[in-house]
């Protein structure tokens, strides 16, 4: 599944009401580690159908960033049934992200 861009308007539909777990990638254009992480997430997204990955730009969506207390990026927040169940901050290798997804 391709990574979907999420904003305040579609957050509820794409994340909260999602039937499958959602990995939300909080990022910004100026953030080098976020840009490094993106191809890894693209790869994960294309390999998996059991969860989806969404991208949230913190500059455009500062309300969402505030709501979820995101103050360092890249920040990956895993949602299940609309609730945060796990979070990872900073650049991580692919297998660590996979185990974060599998571990729940």
């Amino acid at each position: 599944m391709e990574i979907v861009n999420v904003n305040k308007e579609n957050f509820k539909e794409e994340v909260i009401n999602s039937q499958i777990p959602v990995l939300a990638d909080f990022n910004a254009d100026w953030c080098g580690p976020c840009r490094m992480l993106r191809p890894v997430l693209d790869e994960l997204a294309s390999e998996h159908n059991d969860f989806k990955i969404v991208s949230i730009n913190v500059d455009d969506e500062d309300e969402l960033a505030r709501e979820y207390f995101v103050s360092s990026i890249p920040c990956l927040v895993l949602f299940k049934n609309g609730e945060e169940v796990n979070r990872s901050v900073g650049l991580k290798p692919k297998d660590e992200i996979e185990s974060m997804l599998g571990g729940n």
Binding site: W30, S72, P93
Partner: protein, 300 residues
């Protein structure tokens, strides 16, 4: 079997790869995280000769592609042990590789304060990079802890963004650059707290306050939304600290020639004992270490 195995795909490691492949050597670079090393955290590199205003990400990506295009093999695996011998082995979490020579370019990472719940607050108020995360604290109160140049520069950067900046230092004098310090003193919203340590992080969902304890044992809480930790860096020497001679701070003892105490194992970049840890010194080490490794292989 490789001619050269390089541990770390930061600026030093990738530069040594370029030099070694151009000398027709078979080169493997092993990286545990992602190419580029620390520099990807910088939005703007302003002091690299002849390339003003390049972003850390672009610098890293160009360097990585250059090394790959020339023929270096890069694998993303964590190196856990180095073994010496006539043929050297490099053990990763997945495989074992053999090489005639090794270049260690593992760099360093941010030192944490070591407080009990510190990790719980990462991305929730505790940060190790002011230029990366400062923008989240517009109009808020923040603290910086540390006494060196990074702490001073972080405080100066944050003074223009945050409402108030508390600069906390465990001694009564700063080690950093005098000009930066004077610049800071002229800012009305920067408050200096000397002879004190951060001893507790307070908050439920996110950081709300920090407890500081001064040298007399007096405690005080300061309300802040952000704490920027700038208490230095630690060398990443886990995979070789038993084999290679280190200095008292844990960096590899080596001179300009980049030789370690073991023949055929060389060092480049921030992980080496040195006064200036910057891109230019990292890449120049990369060139020297690769040249030394090539000479070592050819003379054998």
């Amino acid at each position: 079997m490789y001619d050269v195995i390089i541990v770390g795909a930061g600026p030093a490691g990738l530069t040594s790869a370029i030099y070694a492949v151009r000398a027709m050597k078979k080169v493997l670079v092993l990286e545990k995280l992602n190419y580029g090393g620390q520099i990807i955290n910088t939005l703007n590199i302003e002091n690299y000769p002849a390339s003003p205003n390049v972003s850390g990400f672009d610098f890293a990506t160009k360097l990585y592609n250059q090394a790959k295009d020339l023929g270096a093999i890069v694998k993303f695996e964590n190196v856990i042990q180095i073994k010496n011998g006539n043929i050297k082995s490099v053990i990763t979490s997945k495989n074992t590789y053999e090489a005639k020579s090794i270049i260690l370019a593992t760099g360093s990472q941010n030192r944490k304060l070591g407080l009990e719940n510190e990790d719980n607050f990462s991305s929730k108020g505790v940060s190790y990079c002011a230029t990366c995360d400062g923008a989240f604290y517009k109009g808020k109160d923040v603290a910086v802890v540390g006494g060196g140049n990074t702490a001073l520069e972080d405080a100066l950067y944050l003074a223009d963004i945050a409402k108030n900046v508390y600069l906390i230092h465990r001694r009564d004098e700063f080690r950093g650059d005098a000009a930066t310090f004077n610049n800071l003193k002229s800012k009305d919203n920067v408050k200096f707290i000397y002879n004190s340590n951060v001893t507790k992080l307070i908050g439920d969902d996110k950081l709300e306050a920090i407890e500081i304890t001064n040298n007399d044992g007096n405690k005080e809480n300061i309300l802040v939304s952000g704490l920027f930790v700038a208490v230095g860096r630690i060398p990443l020497n886990d995979s070789f600290n038993e084999l290679i001679k280190l200095d008292s701070a844990g960096y590899i003892k080596a001179c300009e020639d980049c030789h370690t105490n073991i023949p055929g194992i060389f060092v480049a970049g921030d992980i080496r004992s040195k006064d200036v840890r910057q891109l230019v010194t990292a890449v120049s080490d990369g060139a020297v270490a690769a040249t030394s490794a090539i000479k070592f292989i050819n003379e054998k």
